[in-house]
Symmetry: C2
Subunit: 420 residues, 2 copies
């Protein structure tokens, strides 16, 4: 971990070493100057990573050999020998608890130790803390706008800065108040609940009901398997009659995909509604399959929308689900989860709220993980403030007064809802 | 690497497996729909990572155990057994050479193989290629604006999405035409030339000339060490007289820092000029130390500015360097490198060019690595276009026609200058 720093930290470190002040007691504080996203607060995060980095702080023989090749040729051998012995065992790191609410100009991570190491840690700690805090803060802002009952899912794996950026995004979005991630590896590594539905490509991979294989599903309570294709086709006729939509407009490839998915996951059936027309195809097909499943004792769990006016459509979908539930006497039908995705931003959440949507779950990708409103927190790592004169024998930039721990309370992650 | 994907890829994979079409031949193409940053092109990058990911594609026993815990309980054991045997050995990946110029809607990475694996790779490949291509493109835009002779240095380690985001930023900025990185680990891992100067904290850690330790430097040609502190003070008087600035305005802590750095790195002396007043302190102090070094046979290599009107100041600095060079008969003085940093954006580069700056080297951090103008490339991974009807027995979404390799020429990285 030690070489994860800017080169100038090492040239300056050599400067301090050569002047004999590399072991002078020093301190630094990490903070940001303005609240991100024009807001008044942030969540301090990445602090546990900072601790891990301290434990792993060491230059390997290969690191030292590399540094020899890039530092000026006049650099003394003894400095490299010294680097090879260096660790952070004399460094003390203090921080607010992970996920605490923090404010501009109030340090939330403090480092004390020998000058040389305290300085070398600057870039590393900034790298570990800045994005973690930024994306946790962004997640919290989504949570505050969405309210405590909305299910929020992070799905930015394909939009982040590579695998590690994506894992950080999943982890710190969860700390910021999201409920789920789509990222399987993040689920495995961090224990974050993972969720997923189906993609348009799956729906489009079917063109006719003949492609469904296998076609039969046994009832939940046991008994003879039933041809779910035929059953869904029967229900489609009834649903179209109720909804007054022409049955020929319900795409049979989509119906085939839904039936196939339902046979595969009879207790977890979900439909993606907008591959073709939501109102005349996606919704009737979904209802038909969900009613067929119901006849066999299973409950569908949800639908997803990925385009169009999501708030407006969610209301129309809820109406249809209610109508089907009432007409066919399936009370749970109206509680089917409505999930949405498609470039969801803070503005989208404000619109959903203003329009009184029927949305239960929101997937957020790009606008969560890339933090486009402010893609960098701009943290700084400075000597403690309030030093007018350097202490005797200590370099001013890192001299160490007593500091007062900021009185920040921990940020509880209960029910995924930040308590502000 | 295999679990670095969205959960829905696995639920759909199970769907395909259960329908017996998991080994159907399939294909997918990776492209973007609109050129990033409102531009007409991008650089395709991350392609080598894609190949590495294919080689490493495998679900470990622990991965499979985790998947068992998150996929619906109805998922058959045989599917997990199948996942445990899966690799990408039957997958062919074709791509343009790393760093090629690519255009909207023209695939630059193509995957062929069994449907199930081709689909599982979707999110992973998007994750590996999207940010890599985006930041390489961003770097190229900076290079095009800066011109072929400007030295460009990436210094975004503290602003990227964690360590791996930062390493990707360094690597793909170099592919995009940057000359250097500040990131030591990136230098070590990828062989990118690393550079660094000094920070304000180093300058501020000195308050008086008494703190300089050691104080002496032997001449380059050998001989008795000379008190560089005293020599620099003598030169400061002469420089201030030439520049008509009051010697008492030249901050002695800054002079001490410069002298200390010069003694430490006599062949690589650089000055950061803007800790105090550039004109009355930073510049006279730098010139004094550089002239003292010159007297001992050494050449200073550069100055850096990190605030204010960079273009305007660069011109004033060049004037002073020329004046000193002429007056004290030190011809190399006017060629001292002027480096700038401080929130450099594309707009900054346009301004530098418009104002006719004297800048030789530019450090770019936040605006390079976070790509704030468009923080996500928005790549998609789709079945090849132009398929009206699915091939017999193949699912439509991934059916595989013959495709024509896009006629893209390789993007040479000669002298860091993209040839467009």
């Amino acid at each position: 971990m030690a070489p994860l720093t800017d080169l100038y930290q090492l040239t300056m470190a050599y400067g301090h070493w050569r002047a004999g002040r590399h072991r002078a007691p020093a301190a630094a504080e990490l903070f940001f100057r303005r609240g991100p996203f024009r807001g008044s607060f942030a969540l301090g995060a990445g602090l546990a990573e900072g601790l891990r980095c301290l434990r792993a702080f060491r230059f390997s023989a290969a690191d030292v050999a590399y540094l020899r090749s890039v530092l000026p040729s006049t650099t003394e051998d003894a400095f490299f020998d010294y680097l090879a012995t260096l660790d952070a065992s004399e460094v003390t790191l203090s921080a607010v608890p992970e996920g605490s609410v923090v404010f501009a100009r109030v340090p939330f991570l403090q480092v004390k130790g020998p000058l040389l190491v305290v300085q070398l840690l600057e870039t590393t700690l900034l790298c570990l803390v800045s994005y973690a805090s930024l994306v946790a803060t962004n997640a919290t802002r989504f949570r505050l706008l969405a309210g405590p009952d909305m299910k929020l899912m992070e799905m930015g794996l394909r939009r982040a800065q590579g695998p590690d950026g994506a894992l950080s995004a999943s982890k710190y979005s969860y700390i910021g108040g999201f409920d789920y991630t789509s990222n399987v590896l993040a689920g495995k590594l961090y224990g974050i609940p993972v969720r997923g539905t189906i993609a348009h490509s799956f729906i489009m991979s079917f063109t006719s009901l003949e492609e469904v294989q296998p076609r039969e599903l046994p009832p939940l309570a046991g008994g003879e398997p039933v041809d779910l294709v035929a059953l869904a086709e029967l229900w489609l006729g009834q649903v179209c009659e109720l909804l007054q939509t022409p049955p020929e407009k319900a795409n049979r490839g989509e119906l085939a995909a839904f039936v196939s998915y339902a046979i595969t996951f009879p207790r977890d059936f979900q439909g993606l509604l907008d591959t073709y027309c939501v109102r005349r195809s996606g919704l009737p097909n979904f209802c038909a399959v969900a009613l067929a499943l119901h006849q066999l004792g299973y409950q569908a769990i949800g639908v997803r929308l990925d385009s169009g006016d999501l708030a407006q459509q969610s209301k129309e979908i809820r109406q249809v689900l209610r109508a089907c539930g009432a007409h066919f006497q399936v009370p749970w039908f109206e509680t089917i989860l409505i999930a949405v995705s498609n470039d969801i931003s803070e503005q989208s959440l404000e619109e959903f709220s203003r329009e009184g949507s029927e949305i239960d779950m929101i997937g957020v990708g790009t606008n969560l993980v890339t933090c486009p409103l402010q893609p960098s927190l701009g943290c700084v790592y400075k000597p403690p403030l309030g030093i007018e004169r350097p202490q005797e024998g200590l370099p001013r930039a890192f001299s160490s007064p007593g500091w007062t721990t900021p009185a920040l309370s921990a940020f509880p992650h209960s029910r995924g809802v930040p308590a502000l």
